[in-house]
Symmetry: C2
């Protein structure tokens, strides 16, 4: 199983995770028992299987302190701690382009709170874009059943607090205006590369 | 500290790691107390600091089973296991190209044993190259103090056993002929992107 690990804010063990899913799981995915992260992982698998793109989620960084060796083949880690990631969660290659992104969810209905991001994530996305990659965020408004793909260039003015309400949140209207909305599909479930296709068209 | 994690074959705790370094560390790095992995990580840091490339080593994948919560801010993992990585260790973006590679060391003086690779690593490198990325391996012959960067296209015939001695190893002479040799520098310590530059020239 994969531990859900939202923004380094909290960590859950298996029991807690199951409880969380039952009691607090986003309405949109409740029926399927799938988090946004699982949707994206499934989509990436579909993309890989069809030789469309090679994109993976990076493992959660963990600092290992103690390891036991009950059997040589099965080293058991007995003390370790979560570390904050240096980068975003997802990267890979699509049509010759380097792709880098972060996936976020909110229960809010009118805006996306910017404290969902860490400074180093935004810096990493900007740095990748400068090197010729394509950087973006996938934001799911779970209560609204709507998913948007927002390019780093559109996110950055909000992050920098260039608009009148400072850098607290991005209103839904900004997503409707500047992001690309993605409808859930069967396979891939979240066809977010459709958004990337539009940006690639502008590049070439 | 970073746990050394060679090819999923063995795992070391801190004490073992230090002992290993003292007793079995490759002659070439002994004086500096640096493994090849540390050299590459340092090089990547240099490349990032100078806005030359954004390349990171992926975290080691670890399956977490039990987590304790002595304090909310410091979740302690008390049972976890190493998992085999699905991909290679390193990827990123350089001059608009997706870069993907694996780093290997050998004490051999005449050839590089192919059992240093896993099938899934080679498959991943091939898949990335097909998507327009640049895939390669960095191989250090520690006893010879020589480092080579070998493109996946040059590695593949050896992996497939196309040559007369099957798929056991790649002779040093093949590296001298088909790979690009990298001299150690000060900063970056292993300027492996010099090799990538040559392949980019051929692409554009």
């Amino acid at each position: 199983m994969t531990i859900k690990y939202p923004n380094g804010q909290g960590h859950y063990n298996k029991q807690q995770l199951q409880k969380k899913k039952l009691t607090k799981g986003p309405a949109i995915y409740a029926n399927r028992g799938m988090s946004m992260e699982e949707h994206i992982s499934h989509s990436n698998e579909t993309y890989r299987q069809h030789n469309i793109a090679i994109i993976y989620k990076k493992p959660t960084p963990i600092q290992v302190v103690k390891v036991d060796y009950p059997h040589r083949a099965a080293a058991k880690i007995t003390e370790a701690y979560y570390r904050r990631a240096s980068t975003t969660d997802y990267n890979g290659v699509y049509k010759g382009f380097y792709i880098d992104f972060e996936v976020k969810e909110t229960q809010n209905k009118t805006s996306f709170p910017l404290n969902n991001f860490h400074e180093h994530q935004i810096e990493h996305l900007v740095a990748c874009e400068k090197q010729g990659g394509i950087s973006f965020v996938i934001v799911s408004f779970n209560s609204l059943n709507r998913i948007f793909v927002l390019h780093i260039d559109s996110l950055l003015p909000w992050w920098k607090g260039c608009f009148k309400d400072g850098r607290k949140s991005i209103p839904l209207s900004a997503f409707e205006k500047d992001a690309i909305e993605i409808n859930l599909g069967v396979s891939p479930r979240v066809p977010y590369l459709n958004a990337v296709d539009q940006w690639i068209k502008e590049k070439i």
